[in-house]
Amino acid sequence: MRRIISVLIENEAGALSRVIGLFAQRNYNIESLTVAPTEDETLSRLTLTTEASDKQVEQITKQLNKLIEVVKLVDLTDGEHIERELMLIKLKAAGAQRAEIKRTADIFRGQIVDVTNATYTIQLTGTTEKLDAFLRSMADSTIMEVVRSGVSGLSRGEKILAL
């Protein structure tokens, strides 16, 4: 099952490499990973998605917790949560294609953030499935470049991940 694990780590040199190293060392997979400082400058928040069974995810969270620089973590997929990913996509857009692409982007609530006479660059946010669906709706031949941020997420309701 796909899991989203959110981790607060000390904002220190080397902390990130320990998390990534742990995944490599123990043969866990990482599908996406995003990390940035938080409102508390001593902490970074790292979100990673992984494909793992219940037993594996139990080991992953336990092993992550053993890292000295990991302060706290939560498996967001344990409960109701919000997840978002940002995608920038550069498309060939000429002639009749331009209107069609614009219409599809509107349906997905995408924004055109850069335009040339032959290309559109579209910004899209949403769940991973939504971004995947948008990509599928674009003919392969029109896609020039794609960059995705990886998943970020929060628990719904009152529940928080904080010190």
Binding site: I9, A13, G21, Q59, N65, I68, E69, V70, V71
Partner: protein
């Protein structure tokens, strides 16, 4: 105001470090100079950095105190890696200080630069790269705190040369406390879980107590013995746990696992309850996991939550230090054991009689043909046991000799049996014995080794001369990499690919050249007398190396049948299996 080098040494003094095992080089010259200008911390100069880590390790395993290592950057640091990994796999507290190139040279492929924090990352509990001299006291404080608390392990402190510069002076104050917000080792076990465990113990019909190295590391042996005596259940120890429960006690079934005794493995397979304490269900214990102890409920006590339910599903997990959990269990047992019914005690007696049946197999009996005059390695270990009254510290290397030592030298006390169980590091035995001897100069320390392993750190015979370390080295010389050869006999139709030890040195002449005493023994009837002399008062202060020519054809048995075997599937001798 002090320099970083002096601050480091002062910090080690604050941590009551009495021995540092190390080897100098460019990046640690300032630190070595600071060492020179004091006399509280004793530095032991080894001949190879790997040996420094194993010495610190032997010191730590025998005393329970952290071992401390000091090496230079680059090759000094990489030479230490095997010893750090050895300590990591067996959860041994160790602090390794490595020199690093000057801060401004890091990342430029400068002379003797290596990314020690990166190289050691998967084999340390934690590591630090020091950024400024002012940080040294807090980092050292944290390093010792992390290495020795929770599940212990090695910590690396990498110090760039400029940080220890004698001309850069900064304020020095050693912190009195340390707290790390992201690190809080378990303080005690969950009382509800402990109660659940007690009721399972009360109701068990065919129980087993399976205790590992965590009991020794956590200083829980006495409490374990109290518990075992109270309940009267059979007890087995892992390779790492030998000595946690007295091996000559009638409740002890011997070691379990790949080379465990018949009775221990049979009892594990047939039991209905396992109380696992400070053990980690290693693959060398369980054999095929899906066939492991099919009828057993499992209570697992461990300080590391990640050890629990990692390899085997557990019914009652208890996370906590052994001392606190076992104390709580003992108090509850004291109050509740009166509720055991006669029926339950009768079932336990039946279980014991089944076990006695397995014991009759006498799986450790030594085979010998009438006209065979060769020394069997098992007999050699038994002779060492008798010559030392079973009270020696014993370190080993890795191979058949290690298993023979584990099986034929019963340990009645914790911390006397010292071997590399997790990593299985050949070359561990001699330097580990030296570390033990450093810690206990008056005690008898024996290294049981093989002619293959001893050559992996034999240069330390020189260190032994320098420091007068009277280690007794028992070389079970089978002229082969015996354990490898055994597997080739059993799984590769006896094709002995590179398991033959050719061009062996004359060990007696070799040790004599270092100023030690050597004996060569090839007849059983000489062995007893030679060992009596080796362990005599006369040679108490001398390193003695006994090169015992043993029968090269002997295999270690019992041995688990693999692959796809369960705990009860064993080879009992050549060609004979359960």
């Amino acid at each position: 105001m002090l320099s970083g080098g002096d601050i480091l040494i002062r910090s080690l003094q604050e941590e009551n470090v009495d021995h540092v095992f190390g080897y100098p080089g460019g990046a640690v010259l300032h630190i070595y100079d600071a060492l020179f200008r004091q006399n509280k911390v004793k530095h032991v100069l080894v001949r190879h950095e790997q040996a420094a880590t194993h010495m610190a390790d032997g010191y730590a395993r025998s005393t329970g105190l952290p071992g401390v290592v000091l090496v230079t950057s680059g090759p000094g640091a990489t030479n230490a890696v095997t010893g750090i990994a050895t300590a990591y796999m067996d959860s041994i507290p160790m602090v390794v200080i490595s020199g690093q190139v000057q801060s401004h040279l890091i990342g430029t492929d400068s002379f003797q630069e290596t990314d020690m924090v990166g190289i050691s990352r998967p084999i340390v509990k934690h590591s630090f790269l020091v950024k400024k001299a002012e940080d040294i006291p807090m980092i050292i404080k944290k390093a010792f705190y992390i290495a020795t608390t929770g599940r212990p392990g090695p910590v690396v402190v990498d110090i760039p040369k400029d940080i220890t510069n004698p001309t850069d002076l900064v304020e020095y104050e050693y912190p009195s406390d340390v707290a790390i917000r992201s690190y809080s080792p378990a303080g005690k076990g969950h009382t509800g879980q402990i109660k659940k465990a007690i009721s399972m113990l009360l109701n068990a019909e065919r129980p087993m107590i399976y205790a590992g190295g965590g009991v020794i590391q956590g200083n829980g042996s006495e409490l374990l013995v109290t518990l075992c005596r109270k309940v009267g259940f059979p007890v087995t120890n892992t390779l790492m746990g030998l000595g946690a429960f007295p091996a000559t006690d009638s409740q002890f079934l011997g070691m379990l696992g790949m080379h465990g005794t018949y009775e221990a493995n049979m009892a594990m397979h047939h039991c209905d309850l396992i109380l696992a304490v400070g053990a980690r269900f290693d693959d060398r214990v369980t054999n095929t996991v899906s066939k492991f102890c099919p009828n057993a409920k499992i209570i697992h006590v461990d300080i590391d939550p990640a050890s629990i339910a990692k390899n085997v599903d557990v019914d009652v997990p208890i996370v906590g230090p052994v001392v606190s959990v076992l104390s709580e269990m003992n108090a509850l047992l004291e109050a509740n054991w009166v509720n055991r019914t006669d029926d339950q005690e009768k079932l336990l007696a039946e279980w014991w009689s089944q076990i006695e049946g397995w014991r009759k197999q006498d799986c450790l009996a030594v085979e010998r043909d009438e006209h065979d005059t060769q020394i069997k390695p098992q007999e050699a270990v038994q002779a060492v046991y008798r010559a030392t009254n079973g009270t020696s510290y014993v370190t080993t290397d890795v191979g058949q000799h290690q298993m023979f030592a584990a099986l034929y030298y019963p340990f009645d006390e914790p911390r006397k049996w010292i071997n590399s169980g997790g990593l299985g590091t050949m070359g561990f035995g001699l330097p580990a014995a030296m570390g033990v001897q450093m810690a206990f100069p008056e005690e008898v320390v024996t290294c049981i080794t093989g002619e293959g392993s001893i050559q992996m750190n034999i240069q330390e015979l020189s260190t032994c001369s320098q420091y007068g370390l009277p280690v007794k080295v028992i070389n079970l010389n089978n002229r082969s990499l015996g354990m490898v050869k055994q597997w080739q006999d059993m799984q590769y139709d006896g094709r002995h690919s590179h398991s033959y030890m050719d061009s062996l040195p004359d060990f007696v002449a070799l040790v004599e050249s270092y100023g030690h005493i050597g004996f060569k023994v090839d007849r059983l009837d000489e062995l007893e007398d030679v060992l009596a002399e080796v362990y005599s008062e006369k040679l108490k202060n001398r390193l003695v190396f006994v090169d015992i020519q043993t029968d090269p054809e002997v295999h270690v048995y019992p041995m688990h049948v693999a692959p796809n075997g369960s705990m009860r599937d064993m080879w009992l001798k050549k060609g004979v299996r359960t």
